[in-house]
Symmetry: C2
Subunit: 363 residues, 2 copies
């Protein structure tokens, strides 16, 4: 998100705050976060874990001895590529929507914006509750993604492929249709939904010494951090990020959100966005370090998981694996010989097999 879109989001937040229904799922309060009160607490995570249980898989924590050898540590992959709708995003979407329904609030519709996995997740969950879902998608989004949203029962609303056009379209759809807007990454219930990944990982393996998470908007890593550091304060949390989309790295260096100053081009399309204002204070204070990786490393890591772990992942999932097998990993802040058991989140598997395979094999 660049400065323009951040302002738009703030404006939209103000707009939302006039509507009490939407306020219950939108919690953009950087001031509170700055004061040390993060947008979610561990209680929110526990609640989310119970709320989303009927709508998500508890995905397996898988191992691969070949990757262990490359990493020189024991690696436990949280296979969110096997999650319903093919990515972790269903956790946040399900928590946001089901939390409303549990409060006996059934909105006329759900409105969100997404060019990918969050749109699928909202469409599927909304359908479960028989609530219409309007997904604002850029007109240049791949047809296959639009079709998948439709197959889950979502209504695709196209907009020009700019951040400004997207937020304007969200606003106009929302004004027209009413209902509830869920921000794809900064709504508090979305973050606490995603946080259940960390909660589950430590239930599945309490011996984890560190968790590595690809970072885009920061919703996933900030949630996981709140969950994991509450359960096990000694655990290290590392963000993994493409060198070409290194806003999280820059932000940690500068101690404030620092978008990249050039157009972002990376194969890891799920982490192109800049970290958001609700996620940032948690990342700033509690994430131990950021490990950046090259496009070549992402491609190699994705291929490694396909060929050795036999899992179809999208390249964004390869970012975490690339980080743990890189030389940088041993030099990350807080790393030492006792950090032996590494959890890493394979965040999604929604790859077009043909397209990705061509990239992986250099065809």
């Amino acid at each position: 998100m660049n400065a323009v879109s951040a302002n738009l989001l703030k404006n939209l937040g103000t707009f939302l705050s006039a509507r009490t229904l939407q306020m219950s799922t939108v919690n953009i309060s950087p001031a509170a976060a700055e004061a040390g009160n993060y947008c979610i607490t561990f209680d929110d995570v526990e609640k989310a874990h119970s709320v989303i249980k009927p709508y998500v898989h508890q995905t397996p924590l898988m191992t691969c001895s070949f990757i262990d050898k490359l990493c020189g540590r024991n690696v436990f992959m949280k296979t969110e590529n096997l999650q319903k709708t093919g990515s972790f995003k269903i956790r946040g979407a399900a928590n946001a929507i089901a939390s409303l329904v549990r409060k006996n609030i059934k909105p006329d519709c759900i409105v969100t914006h997404s060019s990918g996995n969050f749109g699928l997740a909202v469409a599927k969950t909304a359908k479960h509750f028989n609530i219409p879902a309007y997904i604002v998608m850029p007109s240049n989004a791949p047809e296959c993604k639009k079709n998948t949203v439709k197959s889950y029962g979502g209504v695709v609303v196209e907009c020009s492929p700019t951040e400004k056009a997207r937020m304007q379209k969200v606003k106009s759809v929302w004004v027209e249709k009413g209902g509830c807007f869920i921000h794809a990454s900064q709504t508090a219930e979305v973050i606490s939904g995603h946080a259940t990944i960390g909660f589950e990982m430590l239930k599945q393996n309490p011996d984890l010494d560190a968790i590595v998470v690809p970072v885009g908007s920061g919703a996933m890593i900030s949630g996981i951090t709140i969950a994991a550091k509450h359960i096990k304060p000694s655990i290290k949390i590392y963000a993994a990020e493409p060198e070409k989309a290194n806003d999280c790295y820059l932000s940690k260096c500068n101690s404030h959100i620092t978008p990249v100053d050039h157009p972002v081009v990376t194969i890891a399309d799920g982490v192109k966005v800049t970290i958001g204002e609700n996620a940032w204070p948690i990342i700033r204070d509690l994430v131990d370090d950021v490990i950046t990786v090259s496009e070549e490393q992402i491609i190699e890591a994705t291929k490694l998981v396909w060929e050795r772990a036999k899992l179809v992942i999208e390249p964004t999932s390869g970012v975490g694996i690339a980080a743990i097998v890189s030389e940088k990993f041993s030099k990350a802040k807080g790393m030492h010989d006792d950090v032996k058991n590494i959890g890493v989140v394979l965040c999604g598997g929604n790859a077009d097999v043909g397209t990705v395979a061509k990239i992986l094999t250099g065809v």
Copy 2:
């Protein structure tokens, strides 16, 4: 296996029978099987399950709602593509080798023949016990497969790519090196090792009404049949086979082993071989039906699993999925409306990503 190679195998069996050590892992006794005494019993399966436990994964039984919809039933995929060495073959190899070691028999070496997954499995297990492994492989086997065998510590012995040359090479290596010969599919301990797949599936889901298994040599389906029909006599067992390698189908029609009368060309390279003499009586008597599928169906099914279940499988695994989503499935012998919960074995995932992706995308 054609008539020539069947004779060669019998001759080799005679040769083996002169050496008591090898007899303990080679049990080619078609006469006994014809009399109703199959080469393994359920006791062998239970024993195998306990013997191989330290050397194999209990692979998950996974579901995919999209595949359920296509099949019109509940589908439970036994993910042997996630097994150690990337296929179910480690079960048979581990049982054969570990059973010897448990009897305090540590052979000087293991000799086997394989152009693929069984070679990897023997190499890995033998290395575990610090026993040299000689894998006779055709000279035209892909370099990557030879390299993987070597990476597991196996010694690759090349032979001309004919059945006759292969068996002669096995014999000469065995005469030179001594040790123990394990037949890749007809050794009884190999079959009871593979049988643990059926044992595990019914432990993981006792409600399975049918199990579908790709058939090549028949070692896997015959083992699974002995295990599953003992635990649950009502369960249906279906073989899935490429139309272009339909020897199992022909054999069931003719009531005797009937190799195909043309060179076998199928993308499902793991099931090119003809069913063996130890597996046959079990298939003849206890397998409910054989479902054959076209090359196009195998390709579509493989793609389906990659894209929807997010699992990398080799096309041979696609054969079982192709069978259950085909129109033929509803018409198979013994099928009725109460057959709702279908287990299907994804036998392996050792695909060259680039090659398979090209086939899947028609490039």
